[in-house]
Amino acid sequence: MTSDLVYHVAGAGLLAIALWRLATCRDTLRRITALNVLAIGIAMVLLASGHDPATGVTNPVPQAFVLTGIVVLVAVTAALLALAERLEGSSDE
């Protein structure tokens, strides 16, 4: 068993947990957290599949994808949280 396989399985595990919570949870903040965990899982699977254990080098193209994904995700999270806060504020009044 190689260490790459460990991270493949961990990434897929994160993905499964996040999908399960996305499907079963009604709380907005928890769903946004699940979306973030889902993105981390996908990033981990991508990076693990780009890693070459023979040379120890990781393919720079998936690295750039994941880096882009992290920045886009924080922007999406901030916009979603602003929407969630707005929704919460309007349901209280």
């Binding site: 493949h8 399960w20 780009g50 720079p60 193209v61 992290i70 999406v76």
Partner: protein
Amino acid sequence: MIAFDLALAAGILLCAVSALTRRDRTASVAAFMVLGLLVALSWVRLAAPDVALAEAAIGAGLTGALFLRAARRLGPLRPAAGRTLAVPAALVASGLGGGLAWVFASASPPAIYAPLVAASLPESGVSNPVTAVLLNFRAWDTLLEIAVLVVALLVANLLGSRRLVPVSLGEMTLPFARIVAPISILLAGHLLWQGSSAPGGAFQAGAVLAGGLLALVLAGLAPTGTLVVRGALIAGLSGLAVFLIAALGSEALTGSLLGYPNRAEKVWIVAIEAALTLSIAATLCLLFTGFEKRKTS
């Protein structure tokens, strides 16, 4: 090292379960932040230090701060109403996860891109392959990514997200902010400059700078006038403007969009990255602090 990898993977999965099942919001966000840091560690193990830096600064740090702010504003978790299809959802999710793990683990790694990037690296003007991909070979993607940041900033502005009012944190915050803010500026400059040859770059530098700014805001040291917020908004939008001007300029000079002139690639890349660093820092800071002053009710 396999024992370390196994322990790390177990820790990551435990943190994810904890972040998504704890009923206490603060505990859930804390677990999410620990998850981000452990994931960053695992990406160092996967030889991706650029991504690990970004995950630690943005994924764990800033996203965690955003979640804490939202947790405070949204109030405690409400009990779930109605019946959910927990068992079928768990079956489908674990099936998808297992299938994906099997497909990715059994597929051979694509052998096209890495040699291509390595072969064209001398032409890119920088020696860090990730920076070369981000700002030269696939600069289009990065341009659109900055456009996404601008859209998020505009959405938050249009929604009138409430301005954060920092609570006085006590005696130690002032010296802490005085030490952290200058160090974050130095660190951001260092990350920006070394991004062309070693792990680092505009996103990591911008996130670190935003962290320093937030330390100032939370210590109550940052000016909060309307003019300052407008200035920060303009700084946030300027990254996309500079990137677009650079794209049009390179089109005029070389005839290809974002195809930098020969032997001046590094100057172009570092100039664009410097503008992006300031813009990303201002954007992330504004997304956290909000725009409108709290209405007195």
